[in-house]
């Protein structure tokens, strides 16, 4: 190993580096917590914990560049791997810390897997309804579907990474080889409303997008954009408005006629599917007597998979786990429902390959730290005893 490589390894594995990283993570956690008061959890999480770099505005005036939480945690992983595992004393006289660090590595790795490979959304069912689809809270997509006789159901998807960064004055065109048109987006807003236009000449069918301040509750933001369909063959254009509200059962997707076929274009929340179907048989909602405080709410559901039907209860702290998917009792409604009103139940649906890793790491960390501190306490007690004698 060259001396440079050795030096780098030494730095990466050093206590000093660990302290700097821990201190940075401490600072990011503190700032990210305080920022939630004004900007909500989602924005703070994106800015402080899922980023590589960020700029913190001290008193809204002095910009301070900081490494983001993603980068800090990745470096912490490297530091721990080199420092606490690879370069650790090879004797087994103090195994506790080795075990505890291994547990923390598993937890960080679990965080990485969750961040990159998990899916999350909600499934909302009225009593008697069934579904195998769930819808994201925050992620969006534009779906172009060919309708009509030719290849009905064929879909093209623009994922949010390709349009969510658009500024209101930007425009971006999306191409696909087998689509007979290009789709251009402009005037994009992360949160907006559609309203009748004051000046009809500057509108689409008499409507315009009116930007709204971003909500602290990110799931309440409804993005929108002006869309232009440009026919490849003729260059003819058609203008429309794409707006996230349609995802909540509002207006239908924008439908255009190109090349003799109808195409629907829909800006909607990302949708996922579970490998089984859930039927909500009954929703049970109990309150502490004489109050409006929920003491228990649970859903009796039937899980259908092929010919197999299984009745399960999903309640707070007791989710349904099956085939890598977990369904949690999240919410219910309508909020002011009477005793005979039909209720709906909201399930949080999560597919997380690292679902149980935190539990394993917790067990490992507990064993490791307990072993270590008991060893130290024993040493301390022995010393005190020696002193007295």
């Amino acid at each position: 190993m060259t001396s440079l490589a050795r030096s780098i390894l030494q730095i990466l594995a050093s206590y000093g580096f660990a302290i700097v990283l821990l201190a940075l993570l401490f600072l990011l956690t503190l700032l990210g917590t305080l920022e939630q008061v004004d900007h909500g959890l989602y924005e703070a999480q994106k800015k402080y914990f899922e980023s590589f770099f960020l700029v913190y505005e001290l008193y809204d005036a002095i910009p301070i560049p900081l490494p983001g939480g993603y980068l800090v945690m990745a470096l912490l992983f490297v530091n721990m791997l080199f420092g606490a595992i690879l370069r650790a004393p090879k004797s087994w006289t103090r195994p506790g810390m080795l075990i505890a660090h291994a547990g923390i590595l598993i937890m960080l790795l679990g965080g990485y897997v969750t961040y990159h490979f998990s899916e999350r959304g909600h499934m909302t069912l009225y009593e008697g309804e069934s579904s195998d689809a769930f819808e994201s809270y925050h992620d969006w997509e534009i779906v172009i579907t060919e309708t009509g006789a030719h290849g009905a159901g064929r879909q093209w998807v623009v994922s949010q990474e390709d349009f969510l960064d658009l500024q209101p004055h930007d425009s971006r065109t999306f191409h696909a080889i087998d689509l007979p048109f290009d789709l251009m987006l402009e005037g994009f807003h992360r949160n907006c409303m559609v309203q009748p236009a004051a000046v009809p000449a500057q509108s689409v069918d008499g409507f315009v997008l009116v930007p709204q301040p971003r909500s602290r509750e990110a799931e309440q933001n409804l993005p929108g954009a002006y869309a232009v369909v440009v026919e490849k063959a003729t260059g003819r254009t058609q203008e429309g408005i794409l707006w996230g509200w349609s995802a909540r059962g509002g207006p239908l997707p924008w439908v255009v006629d190109v090349g003799g076929a109808a195409w629907s274009i829909d800006l909607r929340r990302w949708r996922g599917r579970t490998p089984f179907t859930i039927v909500l048989d009954k929703f049970i909602h109990e309150q502490h007597p004489g109050t409006h405080m929920a003491s228990n709410y649970e859903s009796v559901v039937t899980q259908i998979e092929g010919d197999t039907r299984r009745q399960v209860q999903i309640r707070m702290n007791e989710p349904l786990r099956h085939k890598g998917y977990t369904l949690f009792q999240s919410s219910f409604g309508p909020k002011n429902a009477g005793p005979n009103d039909r209720m709906y139940s909201v399930f949080e649906v999560v597919r997380n390959p690292a679902d149980q890793w935190p539990l394993y790491s917790c067990i490992i960390i507990t064993i490791g730290m307990s072993l270590h501190f008991i060893q130290r306490l024993y040493g301390y007690l022995k010393r005190e005893q020696r002193k007295r004698s």
């Binding site: 050093s14 206590y15 000093g16 660990a18 302290i19 821990l22 201190a23 401490f26 956690t29 503190l30 990210g32 917590t33 939630q36 008061v37 909500g40 959890l41 703070a44 999480q45 402080y48 914990f49 103090r94 965080g111 969750t114 999350r120 602290r216 309150q287 502490h288 007597p289 004489g290 109050t291 409006h292 405080m293 929920a294 003491s295 709410y297 707070m316 702290n317 007791e318 989710p319 977990t326 949690f328 999240s330 949080e348 999560v350 935190p358 790491s361 917790c362 960390i365 730290m369 307990s370 501190f373 060893q375 130290r376 306490l377 024993y378 040493g379 301390y380 010393r383 005190e384 002193k387």
Partner: protein, 692 residues
């Protein structure tokens, strides 16, 4: 009070129930009130109601009621209601007399005209009262009587309606106070109107069948009226053919007028205390007397046992009126008190066996005992005593008997505190920590116990001093917090918290982490100030002992904070579908863990030594304060059940004071490193490693 939020909304939007009997009676001349005066209810205004006999107080105190979603003694409900209004469980009257919470409640129920003049509304600043347009007292922070606030009631409700629409964190202090005052006034009105139904007399239009059925010239009492309404309507229906349609319609109108315009207004006001278990044992709901007429007539036939319950209230109310009229006639008073107790026993005899059969009464007497035993109060003063003893012991030579006496003085309040926590667990059938208030008790108990264990090992009378100081501080905090909140400290839990497994594991471990962090910080203060003033500079054992103590406690804290935080994540993974969500409360716990890890690694890497460890421990105390209280003030996140307010100033003072301590530490370091003072022999970080 049941359904407080809904009731408040009703208060703010319509004032439908509260207005008739209390506010409008003076402003607009409420007919119901005139009736009451006609009956000669309160002939002479008095400053204090007649004293209650012990037996009545005891029987009322242990009466089970359903409040806030659980069955509790009336005593508990009374003390937290008075605490919310008055900032104290005892009310001092202008005459100098004192009223306990249960006496005050009974005065409100049975002597409302007198209770209106009790100064039971604590207002922190006269500005809030001035804003209502009523005269203020000379003292800025003072207690007002309902009769003083009443002229400004309409304006208060108007202001409260407006302030309710402002987000809590954007309200000014005065706005919040007016809002709180409106809540409290409403709660008070619910109490003073509660027994209006038991004092009311009902009459029907002359010539009607109902009027003929009411034989008492003063009118029918409630229970009688309910039975008559049922009987007369049956009779009218039966005689419909002979009576003629016009007459039937007229009778129906008379009954409807009596039911909706006379009976319902007073019954609507009798909702504040749900003291009657549902006749259906499968139904968890208890009823207030106001719901009884409807319930009694629900099956088509009046249910005598339910009407009998109304009858007990009527007789008790009449008895108290007679008691008031009897004045100082001792013999008459004794007879009336005995009759009152008899009636009360009759009511209890109908209610308690039912509560027992439902399994809801067995812990009610225990709860009364718990609050009467005043565990926190006595612990606090015993800790003060122990602190004085410890201070004296420092002046005495080392003797085993002194050590024992000092230890005993700290163990005594600690055991009292632990007994209190245990009783709370038994009463609620819950682990020790379910609310913010309980975290204070638990954190104190653990910190003191750990400190006493250290003292047992170390025996330098240092840890014991810190233990008594922390005990004193913790109990003071608990006492103040309980007063500030003014709500039941053993409330019903929301669905996500309804799990004894996670409450027992995650909550207790993470709270033990708080205890250790604060204890380490407290001991570190001693070290820093000893070093500043050069106390025992040359006693290496003393200094090393302190460092080892702090380091050991930090390790203990980090272990529990880490495990507790991860357990919290696992719980969140089961309830909310994610292990970690960067929620403020989760982040607060993570900050403790991260700071702990920074200290451990800085020590191992020799970046900090003795003084550095102690300064880091002081900073750990600050981080714990942020995690424990600070994040709850932010008012955001999923842990909404832990939100609180009104302690921001105390927290800021704490952080500023601790920052000063850190500056002192930095000053000591500068002194020693600038050569102005010889540096202290330091604890080699590898020292422990070698010996371990």
């Amino acid at each position: 009070m049941r359904n407080r939020s809904t009731r408040m909304l009703a208060l703010l939007l319509a004032c439908a129930c509260a207005a008739p009997a209390v506010a409008q009676d003076t402003e607009h001349g409420d007919p119901g009130h005139d009736d009451a005066e006609d009956m000669g209810r309160m002939p002479v205004p008095r400053l204090a109601a007649p004293a209650w006999d012990k037996e009545s107080l005891e029987l009322f105190a242990t009466l089970p009621v359903q409040d806030g979603g659980r069955v509790k003694p009336l005593d508990t409900m009374a003390q937290f209601t008075l605490l919310a209004l008055n900032g104290s469980r005892t009310l001092r009257l202008p005459s100098g007399e004192k009223r306990s919470h249960i006496e005050w409640l009974l005065d409100c129920l049975f002597y409302p005209e007198i209770a209106r003049n009790y100064p039971c509304f604590l207002v922190n600043t006269g500005e809030a009262v001035a804003a209502l347009g009523v005269p203020t007292h000379d003292k800025k922070r003072d207690r007002y009587a309902y009769s003083e606030l009443q002229p400004g009631r309409a304006h208060m409700l108007e202001l409260a309606r407006h302030y309710e629409s402002i987000e809590a964190r954007n309200r000014s202090s005065v706005e919040q106070q007016i809002l709180d005052l409106a809540h409290n006034v409403f709660r008070f009105e619910e109490l003073i109107q509660f027994l209006d139904f038991a004092r009311a007399r009902f009459t029907a239009a002359e010539g009607s069948a109902l009027a003929a059925a009411i034989t008492d010239p003063q009118g029918a009492v409630t229970s009688e009226l309910v039975a008559l309404l049922d009987r007369v309507s049956d009779e009218v229906l039966a005689q419909g053919d002979t009576m003629g349609a016009e007459q039937v319609e007229r009778e129906r109108q008379v009954m409807s007028e009596v039911y909706f315009q006379q009976l319902m207004p007073v019954m609507t006001c009798a909702q504040a205390i749900a003291c009657i278990p549902s006749p259906d044992r499968d139904e968890r709901q208890w009823y207030s007397p106001g719901e009884l007429p409807h319930l009694a007539l629900d099956q088509g036939q009046p249910r005598p046992e339910l009407l009998g319950l109304l009858g007990h209230f009527e007789k008790m109310a009449a008895n108290r009126e007679a008691r008031l009229a009897a004045g100082d006639d001792a013999e008459a008073n004794a007879a009336l008190d005995a009759a009152f107790v008899e009636e009360l026993r009759g009511f209890r005899g109908a209610v308690i066996p039912e509560a027992e059969a439902r399994g809801e009464y067995d812990r009610v007497p225990l709860e009364v005992f718990f609050y009467r035993a005043k565990f926190v109060f006595y612990s606090q003063w015993l800790y003060v005593l122990s602190f004085v003893l410890v201070a004296i012991s420092w002046l005495l030579p080392r003797r085993r008997i002194v050590d024992w006496a000092v230890s005993l003085s700290v163990w005594a309040p600690t055991l009292l505190l632990v007994a209190g926590i245990t009783l709370r667990c038994i009463i609620r059938n819950r682990p020790p920590v379910t609310t913010l208030y309980e975290t204070i008790l638990f954190v104190t108990a653990v910190a003191v116990t750990v400190a006493m264990c250290i003292e047992w090992i170390n025996r330098r009378r240092i840890a014991v001093a810190v233990a008594s100081f922390l005990g004193m501080l913790g109990m003071f905090l608990a006492y103040r917090y309980e007063i500030k909140e003014g709500v039941d400290t053993m409330p019903s839990l929301i669905a996500v918290l309804d799990t004894n497994f996670w409450l027992a594991t995650h909550v207790t471990t993470v709270t033990m982490g708080y205890s250790a962090g604060l204890l380490a910080g407290a001991i570190a203060h001693l070290y820093i100030f000893c070093r500043l003033f050069g106390i025992r500079r040359d006693d290496i054992d003393f200094n090393r002992g302190l460092t080892r103590m702090v380091y050991g406690v930090l390790c203990f804290g980090i272990l529990f904070a880490t495990v507790g935080t991860v357990l919290g994540g696992i719980w969140a993974n089961d309830s909310w579908g994610r292990f970690w969500g960067w929620d403020p409360k989760e982040n607060g716990a993570l900050l403790i863990v991260l700071w702990g890890l920074i200290i451990l690694h800085a020590r191992l890497g020799r970046y900090i030594r003795d003084l550095g460890i102690h300064m880091s421990a002081v900073a750990m105390g600050m981080v714990v304060a942020f995690s424990w209280w600070g994040v709850n003030l932010l008012g955001v996140g999923l842990h909404s059940y832990g939100f609180t307010s009104g302690i921001g100033l105390i927290l800021k003072i704490f952080w500023i004071a601790e920052s000063v301590v850190l500056l002192v530490g930095g000053f000591v370091w500068l002194l020693e490193h600038s050569g102005s003072r010889a540096a202290l022999a330091t604890l080699d970080p590898e020292d422990d490693a070698r010996t371990a």
